[in-house]
Symmetry: C2
DNA sequence: TTGTACGCGTTATCAG
DNA sequence: CTGATAACGCGTACAA
């Protein structure tokens, strides 16, 4: 049951290991006969190249890393992440890259995991989904020339490989859409304040209000987790002390929570209260009332990120760019 | 920017490479002074062991593989899989194992992917989530002595490492529960017929009917994808030609589809028609009417599988076992 | 307690 | 067109 190596093939085919190696890599300077003979013995012996040994000498692992920088439970509960992973997995597959997954419990651990992946030479590059501001991890990766691509981070840092949607614009448009529908007292339920997505969406929300001459009220906004429970509690809190006619939740799961909170307090949606979300998770359309939301082509973002990373790894003189994926408002029943 | 190796450390600390190696592996026979000196220089030089090189010599990758054997879109759309992944990821992390993810588009490609992982020596073992009957992949893995653990496969093959829930029993209990509630004309919506889970749940369903003296009717069962759309269409088809008082869908997403189909045709749930699901996906509780379902501790199954696989890999004389995770009926509004 | 020499499976360089 | 030989970075008998 011993593993058959390049040497075994060489011996059997009566050539040197180098020749076998050349056959494997389709080297042009090799006679058709030997090539065939070697290929035959490879089949015969059931030979498969050892990727580890190859990695060692090539200094390339053909592996990309992905670390989820949230408590894994919240990360996986949100369909957003699984869809991103899906996009990445498919592209990796097509490009003959392996995908290494790692889950970090918090922000600090994410840093450790990412650095470890590089330090142990397990990956050729990573895709980062963490979205906090002010990340020294980024600097570190830049300093050490470690290939990486960001997903969903701010645009404020320049010249950095990133796949994003324009959160400011999207939030602006949704808010504008709500105002156009006649809503004036629009409350906002945001994700954690230190996430760039939260900040950007908040900006767009405020911009739209301002342009329509609607005063921004601090008491109409709440920050919470990107979760059903977070949205639920936040909505209850806002409804308790304020009279409003619409909710704009910066995430679909939060929007669901909002929906149920409104329902619980006896508000009819959308007649007495409108609710809008963000993401267009696949599950959204199945709920009642169906959620009006901002569609983000999440899958495409994952794919784009993977493609960019692989290109950065492969091409010496390409170091990534900024890709903005366009969003779209999906009107449904909840508004 | 060159990578610092064991040799660099050795030279700097004025010892031999083997000594450094011993320090790394905490070899007992080494003087405290040299140990300290070596450790210091490791820090000083920013040394990190190269996992690839280590893998090559140790013939261990410390990596477990996971391949999703569905069209990736359907795989990821179903929360079941993401939760399994989560459980696996957490345990892998704790055990200092890497997790390699791979997505296969179909049954045949799954086989290729799994074998490739082993042939290229990328993994020490794999976790399989494919659930079709009669799998030669399994045999192949057994023959080649490749560590693996199954999740959710049949119990019919003996002596095989597997984490499962007792689908027959669970389906029996849910059907029995429905009958106890007074329902008699219970239709079943199953996943694909060649999946073992489907078959097992169907068995339990039939057993319960039989024990209560209720005749089993072929026209009251339908097979479809594990998806919302599948359940929706199946329910419509059944309702079109039959008069029934309850649906038992063998998956929550299908149950949702069923729910909406009933709604569409004007049936009030649960007053005119009961609907029961399977899995207890986290999202279930948020729907209206909230779904009565069979709770499977999915996360625990992932964890158990990962733990078992790692133990198989590490312990020479342990080759896995059969772990049955208990299920539980969660009564909610839909029944 | 430490150092030397060899091997893990491949690729690359340099001769021939 | 092909074959030695030397790396890649590390672990480990065997010696000292």
């Amino acid at each position: 049951m011993k593993n058959v190596t390049i040497k075994d093939v060489a011996r059997q085919a009566d050539v040197s290991p180098s020749t076998v190696s050349r056959v494997i890599s389709n080297s042009p300077r090799i006679s058709p006969e030997t090539s065939k003979r070697v290929r035959d013995t490879m089949k015969e012996l059931g030979y498969h190249p050892n990727a580890i040994a190859r990695s060692l000498v090539m200094q390339k692992t053909n592996t990309i890393g992905l670390v989820l920088a949230r408590r894994t439970d919240t990360a996986f509960a949100n369909p957003f992440f699984t869809e991103i992973i899906q996009g990445i997995a498919v592209v990796a597959q097509q490009s003959h890259f392996n995908l290494m997954l790692s889950a970090a419990q918090d922000y600090h651990q994410e840093r450790e995991e990412v650095l470890k992946m590089f330090q142990n030479r397990m990956v050729d590059g990573v895709i980062l989904m963490a979205s906090r501001v002010n990340d020294e991890l980024i600097k570190k990766l830049q300093q050490t020339n470690s290939p990486f691509v960001l997903i969903g981070r701010s645009l404020e840092i320049d010249n950095i490989p990133i796949v994003n949607n324009n959160n400011i614009k999207a939030a602006y448009q949704m808010t504008d859409f709500l105002i156009g529908k006649g809503y004036r007292k629009i409350a906002a339920i945001s994700g954690p304040a230190d996430y760039v997505v939260s900040q950007d969406r908040m900006k767009g929300y405020q911009q739209a209000l301002q342009e329509h001459g609607i005063p921004f009220k601090e008491e109409l906004i709440r920050y919470c987790d990107f979760s059903y429970e977070g949205g639920y509690e936040a909505a209850l809190a806002i409804l308790k002390d304020n009279e409003i006619d619409a909710f704009f939740a910066f995430d679909d799961m939060m929007a669901f929570g909002t929906l149920r909170a409104a329902e619980k307090l006896g508000f009819a949606v959308p007649d007495q209260l409108a609710v809008a979300g963000f993401n267009d998770d696949p599950i959204v359309a199945y709920f009642r009332p169906a959620l009006t939301t901002v569609k983000i082509p999440i899958l495409k973002m994952g794919e784009a990120a993977a493609r960019m990373l692989i290109r950065i790894i492969k091409e010496e003189d390409y170091s990534g760019e900024e890709v903005i994926i366009p969003t779209e408002i999906i009107p449904r029943e909840s508004v």
